[in-house]
């Protein structure tokens, strides 16, 4: 097998991976950095992020506000020391993006403009129209070309990590164009492979968002943390699940039920002011808005369409000019995909899976319990999103922690040596044979698409916006049987070059394992918190028993083992999570209580 010897390999060429690569290259230009991606980096799913990136920017804003919004938004399941680091470094990192050429939208005076976003007390979301992720990704990709020590391996698919005696030593990949295996022998590995939204049927994610890195770390004993927290974004296109950014509401859009009524006022998010009011109504957090949709559906207040029940996202009052300036992509999508002019007609929307809050357990500096392994971005659980991510925190996360990951992994690579070639080559060879066996097997009977569709449907049934033990149990059982059937997967294509059927089969293997981690973590969390809501006697948050991270450990063919770890609470005691007028009252009460405490 061809071997590439490198100091550091980054798996995943999206925003987080690129930022990490640049940081590593800047830390020590003499390090050989390999950036591995199963697609050309600018195809990575960061490209689809729309709304923006949060950082305290305005005079009347405060780092403490961003901290409080994030921690309360995450229903207190956040690592508060990590959130502190995050909010403190957010603006600096977005400024770095500006210096690298990111075309942030501007105010008339030339300064970067900000917009409102859900769950954020003050306008602090930097944006590049409604293509923020696209612009950040292209800026990072193009900037990365400046660094000669970054060696890209585009369109290389990662099959497994090479772990020798408790030390990660790189990865085995398939060069997709040729089908040949390549062993990347590295001293340190950063996983930056994005989320796992494709375990669900209706989702906003690209086809590549298949949890690869999560599954790889998990198989090698690193737990997946807080996986039960999957974010449903409230405004997505029925059928495809394509995303209509939260910025639609940040710019003043309304959510209307079948009677044209702004129903969010019935769910503790009012009063219904005519223009956007931060942390109220349409600018409430995503979990609450998706839950409100579910209740409206139960009440018969949604509209029945060809792709299921929906509500309307009304942007008409913003006017065509503003729509084209601030939300050009949304406008284009509505016209092209739905045949609707949003300046004339409300857009049908429903909640769809958008973001994986949990991920590979990471300490505050992106490291893991496996020596040499780091993770960053959506695949990682560094602890800033808790039980519900606030929109526009994740693009900032890529920058802030991408930099940390690059620096940390570079320092580790500097301080250590490659392990003996013989033993790691043997491990790599075993991986190659295992993958080849899957393809060359001729007695497969199970169709990839069938297993995938059954998995997605079952996840939607068991791990939707509201959950019950009975439904989750059914999903646990279903996934166990799908994993068994997966052993008899049928791959018709036996050729080498561009064998994407083989890659789909490997991705399905990743998805099934990550899906199991999600549903088992959900099943064991006997409370309701953030995006994990139960209807079977556990409707309340239970801090006494569940102010804890859940950890899903891989256990071979068996179901994952679920354990728990403590949540770092530094300065924000778990409190009442309220929005709208009730939220303002709660904040006032907290302040008064604080001053009474002295």
């Amino acid at each position: 097998m061809e071997t590439v010897k490198t100091d550091l390999v980054i798996i995943g060429g999206g925003g987080a991976g690129l930022r990490a690569a640049i940081a590593a290259a800047e830390t020590d230009p003499s390090l050989h950095v390999t950036l591995l991606s199963k697609v050309y980096p600018m195809r990575s799913h960061t490209v689809a992020a729309e709304g923006g990136a949060a950082a305290v920017t305005q005079e009347h804003d405060d780092l403490e506000y961003h901290f409080d919004d994030t921690v309360a938004g995450g229903d207190w399941l956040c690592e508060q020391d990590v959130v502190d680091y995050f909010v403190n470094n957010a603006r600096r990192e977005l400024t770095q993006m500006e210096h690298w050429g990111c075309p942030w939208s501007r105010r008339d005076d030339g300064h970067v403009n900000v917009r409102s976003f859900g769950g954020m007390k003050i306008d602090r979301t930097w944006f590049a129209a409604d293509k923020t992720g696209f612009h950040m990704l292209h800026t990072l990709f193009q900037t990365s070309i400046k660094y000669p020590s970054i060696h890209r391996l585009d369109e290389h698919f990662c099959c497994d990590l090479v772990v020798d005696d408790e030390h990660v030593q790189g990865a085995v990949t398939i060069d997709i164009a040729t089908g040949r295996f390549v062993f990347i022998h590295a001293k340190a590995v950063i996983i930056a492979t994005g989320g796992a939204g494709r375990v669900f049927r209706q989702n906003t994610n690209g086809g590549i968002v298949t949890g690869d890195g999560m599954a790889l770390a998990y198989r090698h004993g690193v737990p997946l943390r807080d996986m039960e927290f999957m974010q449903y974004h409230p405004t997505c296109m029925p059928g495809t699940g394509l995303l209509f950014t939260e910025a639609c509401r940040g710019e003043g859009g309304f959510l209307l039920n079948k009677d044209g009524y702004r129903y969010l006022q019935d769910y503790g998010l009012g009063p219904p002011d005519p223009s956007p009011r931060n942390k109220a109504m349409e600018l409430g957090p995503r979990d609450r808005l998706s839950q409100a949709f579910w209740h409206e559906y139960q009440k018969g207040n949604t509209i029945n369409g060809p792709h299921g029940h929906y509500v309307n996202l009304d942007l008409r009052h913003l006017g065509k000019r503003k729509l084209l300036e601030r939300l050009p992509q949304i406008y284009e999508m509505a016209v092209e995909y739905q045949g609707i002019d949003p300046a004339e007609t409300p857009i049908p929307v429903l909640p769809a899976v958008h973001y994986t809050m949990g991920g590979i357990e990471a300490n505050g500096k992106t490291g893991s319990r496996l020596a040499g392994l780091y993770s960053v971005g959506e695949c990682s659980s560094i602890g800033i999103h808790g039980a519900n991510r606030l929109g526009s925190n994740s693009l900032t996360e890529l920058c802030v922690f991408g930099k940390v990951a690059g620096e940390e992994a570079a320092a580790y690579a500097q301080s250590t040596e490659h392990r003996k070639t013989d033993s790691v080559q043997n491990i790599a060879g075993d991986i190659q044979r295992r993958v080849e066996d899957i393809v060359s097997s001729t007695d497969g009977t199970e169709r990839i698409a069938d297993l995938r569709d059954e998995m997605m449907k079952s996840m939607e049934d068991g791990c939707g916006i509201y959950r019950t033990a009975e439904e989750m149990q059914a999903t646990c059982d279903k996934l166990a049987s799908l994993r068994e059937r997966y052993k008899r997967i049928n791959i018709e294509d036996k050729s080498g070059p561009w064998n994407t059927e083989q890659l789909l089969a490997l991705e399905l293997g990743y998805l099934l394992e990550v899906a199991e981690a999600v549903v088992h973590s959900a099943f064991h969390r006997k409370e309701s918190r953030g995006s994990h809501q139960r209807l079977d006697g556990f409707e309340e948050r239970d801090d006494e028993n569940f102010l804890k991270h859940s950890l899903a450990f891989y256990d071979g063919d068996s179901a994952p083992r679920i354990e728990y770890s403590d949540v770092t609470v530094t300065k924000s005691k778990p409190g009442i999570r309220a929005y709208g007028a009730a939220g303002e009252q709660a904040e006032l009460d907290r302040k008064n209580e604080g001053s009474a405490d002295g």
């Binding site: 697609v39 400024t95 300064h111 070309i145 086809g207 495809t240 284009e332 092209e336 050729s495």
Partner: protein, 251 residues
């Protein structure tokens, strides 16, 4: 709206390990009002022939992966709809002017190499520390390059460009637009370096003003406009060299 019909899709296949040249294969694909061409191809892969190879990801015309020829026209498969080809037959081929790696997958390395060669990043005219905050850039200054920063690298314009079809040495529309994006950015100072690429024979002067590149662009980048602006810039450069050596036109 949900009424299901069936359309005939002919795909030009090429399996490098089996075929000496591309061969057409026809599939019957069910669709409804809002089924995209991409969904149609996915149906073929899922249920009719698992070996069909094509690139795709975002499904929303922003990742730039799924460019292909639909009835001879370069388009993204994800924002094209089967209803628009029915009741006729839809013919799908790999993007024109690129070598085919397999089926609908083209070899993009020429495009990537060109992208890497044009200094596609800010080389600051006045370096600034992060502590000094952001560069000021008014909406008007931003508007000078805005449109050209919207390129999703889908390469449809290369498949549309007759000049690139004749000579792949031509830098080509998308990359010239990207080059102009940086030259027109008020933060950048590497214009002189990039103008060497613009002025070269393979630069803007390779363009024969057909303009089809801008017509097929799914993002209204208008690469033809970027090329034309640079023809003006290049001419100015040429003449200004006599007046004041080392100084080109500023815009």
């Amino acid at each position: 709206m949900a009424e299901e019909k069936t359309i005939e899709i002919e795909v030009l296949r090429y399996r490098p390990t089996e075929d000496s040249e591309p061969v057409a294969e026809t599939f019957e694909v069910p669709f409804t009002y809002d089924t995209s061409v991409l969904q149609g191809i996915q149906y073929i892969k899922d249920y009719l022939d698992g070996s069909l190879a094509f690139r795709w990801s975002c499904r929303m015309a922003i990742c730039g992966s799924c460019g292909m020829m639909l009835n001879g026209e370069p388009r993204l498969a994800c924002n094209s709809f089967l209803r628009n080809y029915y009741p006729g037959k839809l013919t799908i081929e790999a993007l024109k002017h690129f070598p085919i790696e397999k089926d609908l997958v083209i070899d993009a390395s020429d495009f990537i190499n060109k992208l890497e060669s044009i200094t596609p990043y800010i080389d600051a005219s006045e370096p600034r520390s992060l502590d000094e905050g952001e560069y000021l850039q008014t909406p008007r200054q931003k508007a000078r390059y805005d449109q050209f920063s919207a390129c999703i690298n889908c390469m449809l314009c290369y498949a549309a460009c007759p000049q690139y079809g004749l000579d792949t040495g031509f830098t080509g529309p998308g990359i010239l637009a990207l080059l102009h994006r940086y030259n027109a950015d008020s933060r950048d100072g590497a214009r002189d370096k990039r103008m060497e690429i613009v002025n070269a024979e393979e630069g803007v002067w390779g363009c024969t003003l057909v303009g089809y590149c801008s017509e097929v662009c799914p993002k209204e980048v208008d690469p033809a406009k970027a090329v034309n602006l640079n023809k003006v810039n290049s001419t100015m450069d040429y003449f200004l060299r006599f007046v004041s050596p080392k100084k080109g036109a500023s815009q």
